[in-house]
């Protein structure tokens, strides 16, 4: 459903728009001023006049959108006056530099979650609960079958899987930006890469080029990561037995995979919670680890926002909204629009720009 007329935020063909700030949030098309929740391709698109984003995402944004973009870096929690609105960015715990964006004007406050998660993640700042009158939340995993275990436990499973195959190459498919670095940071926390441990000098974790490109910003941000090397730097004939390789999911069916002889493969994603999803992808092993909130995380965040009205985007927006209304007695509606709805299993970076199928802005 569309947002009510005269609200602080409205839905335009370019995306969510705040008239008071003359700014769009994660716009789908070029606009004069964009407030960016995080640097994934379905949230940060090229061609805008001015980008506002968390400083730690600057490197990635410039890499992806062009070195010369007009970017205004901001810090978490800092309030800014943009036009007639008071705007602040708050940690969303999704990936490095990810933010929820809070806007306030005319005595009304809105909070746009962007993508977020509630589990601890050593590669980014933890989610900060923020209050607002209206909360726009994502619902990528908006079904109660999704409930995550902690990243440490999953990293232990990954480590055991890798170490159980000393003769083989272990290829782990992770989204290149965010998931890959989170897995690496979790492995580092388990001692991977330290002297005498797996992944130490000489046996570094190997990276696909797409993952490699994201490592520098994370290291710069001070995230503790194990030593890594790009696969492309390996000498011809160097043994790959017992090595862990991290690659984006798109590499699974690419000729790039041919260099590994009979590797064991696994995919790290929240979608792996469902057996059918894993079998459909032809993946041997699935590790359930997501950078999105699980069902309890979504409910907790809605409650903590204290919002009197909730709008739900992405994934199971209908279901979560109905549950909030019927069971939690919270006024909630799905927000239709160009939010990449049925993106189940797709790489957030590989997603096609969503077709902007929304009504023209309300007069």
């Amino acid at each position: 459903m569309p947002l009510p007329a005269g609200s602080l935020l409205e839905l335009t063909p370019q995306g969510l728009y705040c008239r008071a700030a003359a700014a769009w949030i994660d716009p789908w098309r070029p606009v004069p001023r964009a407030l960016i929740s995080h640097a994934h391709a379905d949230h940060a698109r090229p061609g805008c006049g001015e980008y506002w984003a968390i400083g730690s995402s600057e490197g990635i944004l410039r890499q992806r959108l062009g070195a010369t973009i007009n970017l205004i870096p901001v810090d978490y929690g800092q309030a800014h006056r943009i036009g007639d609105a008071r705007v602040s960015f708050h940690a969303a715990g999704h990936v490095l530099g990810s933010a929820q964006i809070r806007l306030e004007a005319g005595g009304e406050s809105w909070l746009v979650s962007g993508d977020y998660k509630r589990c601890a993640d050593p590669s980014c700042a933890p989610f900060e609960p923020v209050g607002a009158d209206v909360f726009i939340t994502e619902a990528t995993f908006g079904l109660p079958i999704y409930r995550w275990q902690g990243g440490t436990a999953v990293a232990q499973e990954i480590l055991a899987w890798w170490q159980a195959a000393p003769e083989q190459t272990s290829v782990l498919f992770c989204y290149a930006f965010g998931k890959a670095q989170r897995v690496l940071a979790e492995l580092a926390a388990l001692g991977v890469g330290q002297a005498g441990q797996p992944g130490a000098e000489g046996g570094e974790i190997l990276l696909h080029g797409a993952v490699q490109a994201l490592m520098e910003p994370y290291r710069e941000a001070g995230v503790a990561l194990p030593p890594t090397r790009p696969v492309s730097e390996l000498a011809r004939g160097e043994s790959l037995a017992g090595r862990l390789v991290i690659a984006p999911p798109a590499a699974q069916r690419a000729p790039w995979m041919r260099r590994f002889q009979r590797p064991q493969t696994a995919f790290v994603s929240g979608w792996m919670a469902v057996r059918g999803a894993r079998r459909r992808r032809g993946i041997e092993r699935g590790f359930v680890l997501s950078d999105h909130a699980d069902w309890p995380g979504l409910l907790q965040s809605v409650r903590q926002s204290g919002a009197r009205q909730v709008y739900v985007t992405h994934g199971n927006s209908d279901g979560l909204a109905r549950y909030l209304r019927e069971v939690e007695a919270i006024s909630a509606e799905p927000l239709e629009g160009g939010f990449s709805a049925e993106r189940g299993g797709e790489d957030p970076d590989g997603a096609e720009p969503a077709p902007p199928a929304v009504a023209p802005p309300l007069a």
Partner: protein
């Protein structure tokens, strides 16, 4: 249960053949005999008994929870499997897992209970209860399990336990553990393991069954009902050069028979009793009492391989498969059904004679013995081609150039093609390429329009993979509004993964209406459907029922208006009928 759950997880997570055999062998070597026997039974897909329906499990899961039913159903739509949906939801429904329940009872360490206890006691005991008591018992079991084991337990409850492991792999692992030949193991496994009942040799019955299975070779003394493993045929492929013979050697080295469109059966007469086994290793005596009665005429120690068909008395050819299906659905057919759909057993091989295993002998010898055996039957003496036990005729094939004309007569003979069997071959175990070939008729084909789609289950959950197709009620005139589309077939198979994914996206963006899980789509996409036969049907709106429809091709080149009409389907029906009407002189009959 912990170990079995781990094995299930391992088999689920590895795709390499040798890794799977290793995992199986390691399990069999380490498991207690009674557990190993039950595990084997489960791995071979023999546990088909439904203890509790998925519907009831769903009800138990929802009772006393705040989870609305519609949300459970949304979850199911994503997962595609009730057992798994509950396993995933239970963590939300029962957040206190591992802590005392409301009544103060602690969760029991049920994961540590051996598999045979789960199978023989815990699951059946819960199934035997009713109402609130049953719900409580089921929840008690769930509370004692982690999600992986919970999934397995639920699948055991619903009889839906499947592991994607071929029987051959299981036999290889068993052979590795026992040192016995896989073919011997396959034979000993026929008819299933005796897992329940009184103790045998002062052992738990499942343990006794395991020991009997792995006993040293020789001195075979299984139950008298035990069938032999079926020999299976491979599809005949056309030779690379059309001038080459389709199979090695002269045509005379091969025995040609009709490929009947019934169910494969093994008819056993031993110890004064008769047994009829289906190819799925189910004892189907109850469904075919007339065949069991007829088997009494066979000498003791006889085992026949053949086809069960419905064949009305005096008819030139068997009735369509649908008639046989009416018989298969009944455990005990009534008099009216027996009269309307009379069954016969058309024999084509002799596996045992006078209690001796004849499988190693050449087919020509087995065939000759089968012919003389059937001729000696009192019923056969009077009406050789009309008895309840009758011989599948050997068809004349003096040279290879006679093969195609012979095959073309199959439809009029009421068969679905030809079988070609090497006359000198022994009776093999399972599908071994080389000795038995099936040469089916080309399927019938129609171009139909996709009109409805529904999501599949399991691996295809959340993907639109179940399609309904329609034909034009009359030929669409150019430029004029299109006439009505009449649905006539559903098909689930035939597309590759990439095409399924592409069609799924297309369906999502071309939905015109939703009816619950079913989506009506714009009638734009044309598919060529292949099917084995069609017959008039009053139950279908189109007036025809098709047999084994599947997608042959996605006709992207064809606009919907050029799809076939109901009239073209009826014409095929007449072709099939006409062929049958003029097929009185089928060779060898």
């Amino acid at each position: 249960m912990r170990r079995f759950t781990a094995l299930f997880g391992e088999l689920d997570a590895c795709s390499g053949t040798s890794a799977r055999v290793e995992a199986l062998a390691a399990y069999f070597a380490a498991a207690a005999p009674a557990d190993a026997a039950w595990a084997l039974h489960l791995l071979l897909g023999k546990q088909r008994r439904r203890l509790i329906t998925g519907r009831r499990l769903r009800q138990i899961a929802l009772e006393g929870s705040t989870l609305p039913e519609w949300l459970f159903d949304d979850c199911y739509a994503q997962v595609g499997d009730t057992a798994e949906t509950i396993a995933l939801l239970w963590r939300q429904l029962e957040p206190e897992q591992g802590r005392p329940a409301a009544d103060g009872s602690l969760p029991e360490p049920l994961l540590e209970q051996p598999l045979h206890r789960w199978m023989a006691e815990l699951l059946p005991a819960a199934a035997a209860l009713e109402g609130a008591e049953q719900a409580q018992a089921v929840r008690r079991l769930w509370r004692g399990l982690e999600p992986g084991a919970l999934l397995v337990a639920n699948k055991l409850f619903t009889g839906g336990f499947r592991v994607g492991v071929a029987q051959g792999l299981v036999l290889r692992a068993l052979s590795q553990v026992s040192g016995l030949e896989p073919s011997l193991l396959a034979h000993r496994l026929m008819g299933g393991l005796q897992l329940a009942g009184p103790e045998r040799d002062s052992r738990h019955p499942a343990a006794a069954a395991w020991h009997a299975l792995l006993a040293p070779a020789g001195g075979e003394d299984g139950p008298i009902s035990r069938p032999y493993p079926f020999c299976l045929a491979s599809p005949l492929e056309p030779p690379d050069d059309p001038g080459d013979p389709p199979l090695p050697g002269p045509a005379g080295a091969w025995l040609a028979e009709w490929k009947w469109d019934g169910i494969r059966g093994q008819l056993i007469r031993r110890g004064g009793e008769g047994f009829l086994w289906s190819r799925g290793e189910e004892l189907i005596n109850a469904a075919f009492p007339e065949l069991i009665a007829a088997a009494a005429a066979l000498p003791d120690g006889s085992v026949l391989d053949g086809e069960v068909l419905v064949w009305p008395e005096g008819a030139e050819r068997p009735a369509p498969f649908a008639q046989l299906q009416r018989r298969l659905g009944r455990r005990a057919p009534g008099r009216a059904l027996l009269a309307a759909c009379p069954a016969v057993f058309v024999a084509y091989d002799l596996l045992e004679r006078d209690g001796e295993d004849w499988r190693p002998r050449p087919l020509s010898q087995r065939r000759a013995a089968l012919e003389s055996l059937l001729q000696e039957l009192p019923a056969a003496a009077a009406t050789p081609a009309a008895g309840l036990l009758r011989l599948s005729p050997q068809l004349p094939l003096p040279a290879w150039d006679g093969l195609e004309p012979l095959r073309q007569q199959a439809r009029s003979a009421g068969a679905e093609g030809l079988m070609l069997k090497a006359a000198a071959s022994p009776y093999g175990v399972g599908r071994r390429r080389g000795a038995w070939w099936k040469h089916k008729l080309e399927p019938l084909r129609l171009d139909a329009v996709l009109v409805y789609a529904q999501a599949g289950s399991g691996r295809r959950a959340n993907l639109f993979t179940d399609y309904t197709f329609a034909l034009w009620s009359e030929a669409p005139p150019p430029e004029a509004p299109a006439p009505a589309l009449v649905t006539f077939a559903k098909a689930y198979s035939g597309l590759g993964d990439a095409e399924i994914a592409e069609l799924d996206r297309w369906i999502r963006s071309h939905t015109i209406e939703r009816f619950g899980p079913v989506r009506a789509v714009e009638p734009l996409q044309v598919f060529e459907l292949a099917f084995e036969g069609l017959q008039p049907s009053r139950r279908h709106r189109s007036g025809i029922a098709v047999r084994f429809p599947r997608i042959a091709r996605w006709r992207r080149d064809k606009p919907a208006r050029e799809a076939d009409t109901l009239a073209s389907a009826l014409a095929l029906l007449q072709v099939a009928d006409g062929a049958q009407a003029s097929g009185d002189g089928a060779p060898g009959c």
